[in-house]
Amino acid sequence: MPVNVTRSLFLRQIAQSIGQLPSLDPLSFGPRILDMTSVLPQQQVEEMKNRTLVVVQLSGGNDGLNTLVPYDQQTYYNARPTLALSKGVVLPLNGEVALHPSMPALQALYNDNHVAIVQGAGYPNPNRSHYESMTIWQTASPDETMQTGWLGRYLDTARSLDSSINAVELDALLSPAVVGEKERAMAIENLQSFRVAPLTRQTQPSDEATIRALDSIQCGSCQEYNNLVNAMMEAGLDAMTASDIVREAASNYQTLIMYPTNDFSNRLKLAAQVVSSSLKPTIVYLQIGGFDTHASQKNTQASLLKTVSDGISAFYQDMDSKGKADDLLIMTFSEFGRRVHENGSRGTDHGTAEPMFLIGGRVTGGLYGEYPDLSSLDSNGDLIHTVDFRQVYASVLQDWLGVDSTPVLNSQFEKLNMF
């Protein structure tokens, strides 16, 4: 069929076809109400609607001992002849533990009662492979392999009650943590490329309309195909809708807070823009890598912890300045902590238990769980955990996100009362 260059009614047709697309209009991203009325008082249900959980994954295995430093214990100084942080430089939280010297920003938040620190998070029979242990934290399943992540399962549950619940990961590919049986987070790698680029300067609306139309056609014939076609179509339509919403929010976004200039802080700033948009994601997931400090740990970890502490502090202040600190919970974790004794290369090898940080306006600040006993290590010379990380997840799911944690975690875990 030869190309007909005279037809010009196309835009209007496409515009009409968009109007017929089901439930993807930005306005449908409305309030999110979980069916918690039977469990919680109405006021609390209302409050939970605006909450966000921001998960920060520290990839590579962060050395917990030099993050939350047991600075009154000689055992610590004996185990780390070159890496131990001296009493004079650490930032004490009390007489027993102190923060790494490059984390004054987090210390300030702690002093304001906005930081809960779980001291010895881990799980039984710890795995020391990056991949395996990260998968265990992401799927919340140490004993058997699971195909779904814990936040993915949360999405499966929550969206079955309220389809307008959103989750966003700020990365190119999704972490297994945010992929469920049916539901998954949206991915936003960076804001500049998160749009349908126009073919020419004038054609943005029609370019986008055409691709939407392609997707609506695919929807028509996709029934006879498979879930890959469906996943592609859904991701494409979600992307275009979310792109409009997030880019508009970003263009209206203003802040007086100075974020540090690095990739991690850029992502946190993007998180602030996404959280401020009408997408109102319940979950935001992001990661920072480089914590695998087998050699020359001192400077590497100092720089990374500064990046994390300063970035999170700026993000918190930004949200606080917009009156949203009470709706914000930031949670950090790593796939494992590191060995108590330093190795021969001024570094540390893969270990076990680690501190987790939970930061937010509504958090009851302080220390949770016991600090692992440095004089009673496992057969590998590693810390024995004092809190199962799934207890932290259970607390967050139940007390922050307002869902029953048992079906998500496939078991019941004793909560920590952090809120």
Binding site: V3, F10, A172, V196, T200, S206, I217
Partner: protein
């Protein structure tokens, strides 16, 4: 990593045993899985475990003692200053080991041979190759049939691939649109079928944004596949990359006949008529010839028919 890539290209269609031996001695693998730190006095179990868990027989077919025995047998590899690997007999543990029920003074070659001829390896290779070429989660019957070819041909990868490509399952409806084009496949098939080019920097930026930067896999397990390539960010990358393609002379020629012919430069089997109609209508709204060509390419590459195999 470049050397490893050459190794995969060189031995990828030969005997699996030789490929596995090549990987065992590969400098990049010796670094990633600590093989170069695996010494007689202090064995490192990393590669000994992963060669069974990931590359051959899989979890459930070996014990922790087998891991220790394999680690001992693999001791002795080191890397010289030029980045090449060599075997240092002084660091090798040549004592007796018991591995998967067999006992002897096993060295690397022995472990590789035992693993390559193990029935569980035949099944796992059959399963992986089938999932790569046809679709995920093939039936046990299908896997057994392909695994028999592996066993009968002493692990001839080419014969196994031929058996897959000639199988009824490969030509079945289930295999239609059952695979997601990886970012590299998405990009290279477009450039090849269009006879076009892209600025290398733009290619790298796109592949990075889509999560598959060549020579930089996330782990020794390689890249994810299938549905893992699909998300809101990567779909927009797929919609936008066609705007970066250069030198579209060949595609412009095909365009002169019809939109249908033009789309067939990318998708020889063509697009369903309703999809084609949307592309035609949209193309009409662009005044310039170059824009029309670009729009056809862009929209064709945005359909699932192009992004799935």
């Amino acid at each position: 990593m470049f050397k490893q890539n050459e190794l995969l290209r060189d031995k990828g269609m030969g005997r699996f045993r030789e490929l596995l031996m090549g990987i065992t001695e590969d400098p990049a693998m010796l670094i990633w899985l600590d093989g170069a730190q695996n010494r007689k006095a202090s064995p490192n179990e990393n590669y000994g475990r992963e060669i069974m868990e990931v590359f051959t027989i899989g979890v459930g077919n070996y014990t922790e003692d087998d891991v220790k025995a394999a680690a001992r047998a693999f001791t002795g590899y080191q890397i010289d200053k030029s980045g090449s690997s060599f075997f240092n007999p002084k660091q090798h543990d040549d004592g007796t080991k018991t591995f998967l029920g067999q006992t002897g003074n096993f060295g690397p070659q022995d472990i590789v041979s035992i693993l390559a001829s193990h029935p569980a390896t035949a099944k796992s290779i059959a399963r992986k190759l089938f999932a790569y070429f046809a679709y995920d989660n093939p039936s046990d019957d299908t896997v057994s049939r392909i695994a028999n070819v592996y066993t009968r041909t002493d692990g001839d990868i080419k014969a196994v691939v031929e058996a897959i490509l000639n199988s009824d399952e490969f030509w079945s409806a289930q295999a239609h649109l059952g695979l997601v084009k990886s970012p590299v496949e998405y990009l290279t098939t477009a450039l090849r079928s269009l006879g076009a080019t892209v600025n290398p920097k733009a290619a790298v930026a796109t592949l990075n944004s889509m999560g598959q930067l060549p020579f930089d896999p996330p782990s020794v397990f390689g890249w994810p596949d299938g549905a893992a390539w699909i998300n809101t960010s990567t779909m927009l990358d797929r919609y936008n990359f066609p705007l970066r393609i250069q030198d579209l002379d060949n595609a412009t020629l095909a365009f002169e006949d019809s939109v249908d012919t033009a789309t067939r430069t990318l998708l020889p089997e063509g697009l369903p008529s309703d999809v084609l109609q949307v592309i035609e209508q949209s193309t009409d709204s662009f005044p310039a010839e170059r824009q029309k060509v670009r729009n056809i390419i862009r929209l064709t590459m945005s359909t699932p028919y192009y992004n799935l195999n």
